[in-house]
Symmetry: C2
Subunit: 304 residues, 2 copies
């Protein structure tokens, strides 16, 4: 199976704690690196991780709270100092450009590479990135200000050739790709061998949903239905539900319930309030509802 | 002796390394806290330090490179989240306000305390702060862009009363302050006892000079002459003098030479390039010229 993994750079909430950095993570899909959120200190965490960060070309920003985007300027600078020439694409709520453009002009009038801004509306479900192997969809979360989640959806590969069957029917090697992509094969005597007899089904595309920062948000469930892995806001423990509601964040129970309703295979809890010196309370509460749950932590890499 | 100490929060150069944060430190003079520079991650380091950061009311920014000021916005936010109501004074090259004002308006339209900006011209020597016990003077360094050093100069206390002499001449207790501040005393029989016979001289005010980022800069020597402690740019080792010159930074030798010429008592080396995994080369080179030298490191506190 080709690589599809998530590395957590920071999983704390708004005020940093001695334990956690603010939000950022890197999604590595078949060697292409995508950053999701970029809180203060992200570049410091990147340097400490094993992430090959010159390969990050796209950054997705969920919303315009500082703990999700204050690391951008420093990272732009460091990429420049390290000799970057490839353009860097920043996908973010459109409003960010009104300040980021001024900041870039002020601090980096002579940047040696291009920062390309691609704004989207976090109140709508939008495909914000699409290539041969991957689609990234932004979808609305339920936060104090407009905020997006991101669904990384790997495209299905083509079907696998059944080499024994292909040999049996005399399929020449040069014709393999056409067969894998859906073609039938006609033998020398004119018999049509259907595609299905020559192949086994493609691997279904894997998927990852980033759902942070948000209150419990049933509206997103149909969008991320069947997701392989889900990262969910888990700022508070169950007995702080009132606080969670007030700040438009989630409890452990909200996170677990969302994972269950989405039919997710695994759940990563993150965006922890600094009030929990021991986060096992969050894990235990969530795992009682959705057992396949882990706590995020800095430098944790999870494969899908 | 009352408190006068410096705590290093970050002492790395522009690109962060796994070892160092970018520039920031806190000067504590008799319980008043002053921050000098505020690179990305400063608030993270503050939370890890023992600095009582609600007591920071003044921040001095040396110049407008990101590794000296990108921590400001996050810190402003965290101060707000932690319930700050006291105004925060930011002393910085005036140009910073053109962007900081926009950033504050964008990210914190509803901040619960005031951020007061006090611009100065880093090309001139200027008193940027003055109170009953302390003067802070900004003075020009020699960097790629206009950049200031800061001299923290404690004011001399009043003279110490010689209690034995005071008792001998019958000075009443209610008259002590006047005597300490320079008055003579007239006894009942009309004899004038001069101030000098009733007191011992005040402690001279102590001083600290922050000289970062800069190339070797003889022009500043008269301003900081006789300083008790000096923090100096030491980005490179002696054999990287060309690189230092090119980037307007200093070598170990430049730093030591400056301390010697200023007649400093102690030298702290900082702003280390990430290229030195072992900084003892920098220390050894500097100490060969100026023995009373230490390497800065995160969370180091030095008393003056």
């Amino acid at each position: 199976m080709e690589k599809f993994e998530v590395t957590i750079l920071g999983c704390g909430s708004a005020t940093p704690s001695p334990k956690h950095y603010t939000s950022s993570q890197v999604v590595d899909i078949r060697g292409k690196l995508f950053m999701v959120d970029c809180g203060e200190g992200t570049q410091i965490q990147l340097r400490r991780s094993r992430v090959a960060f010159a390969r990050i070309n796209h950054i997705f920003i969920s919303h315009l709270h500082g703990d999700h985007c204050f690391g951008l300027l420093g990272m732009v600078s460091t990429f420049g100092l390290l000799g970057r020439t490839a353009p860097l694409f920043i996908h973010a709520p459109g409003q960010l450009w009104s300040i980021l453009e001024k900041e870039l002009a002020f601090y980096y009038p002579d940047l040696e590479y291009k920062v390309e801004f691609l704004g989207f509306d976090p109140a709508k479900t939008t495909v914000v990135y699409d290539d041969r192997s991957l689609t990234v969809t932004a979808f609305p979360l339920k936060h104090r200000i407009p905020c997006a989640g991101f669904l990384f959806q790997e495209k299905a590969t083509s079907d696998h050739l059944d080499r024994e069957a292909a040999d049996f029917y005399g399929v020449p090697q040069w014709d393999y790709i056409r067969i894998k992509e859906g073609g039938d094969f006609t033998t020398k005597d004119g018999t049509v061998i259907p595609h299905s007899r020559l192949t086994t089904p493609a691997d279904p595309g894997r998927s990852y949903a980033y759902c942070c920062d948000t209150a419990y948000n049933p509206a997103m469930i149909p969008i991320i239905k069947g997701v392989n892995m889900m990262y969910h806001d888990c700022t508070y423990a169950a007995d702080d539900a009132d606080r969670a509601k007030k700040h438009f964040h989630s409890t452990s129970v909200d996170a677990a319930r969302s994972a269950m309703e989405a039919g997710a295979q695994r759940l990563i809890l993150g965006h922890f309030s600094a009030r929990y010196s021991d986060e096992s309370i969050l894990l235990n509460e969530a795992a009682a509802i959705f057992p396949n749950t882990v706590l995020a932590k800095e430098n944790l890499t999870v494969s899908i």
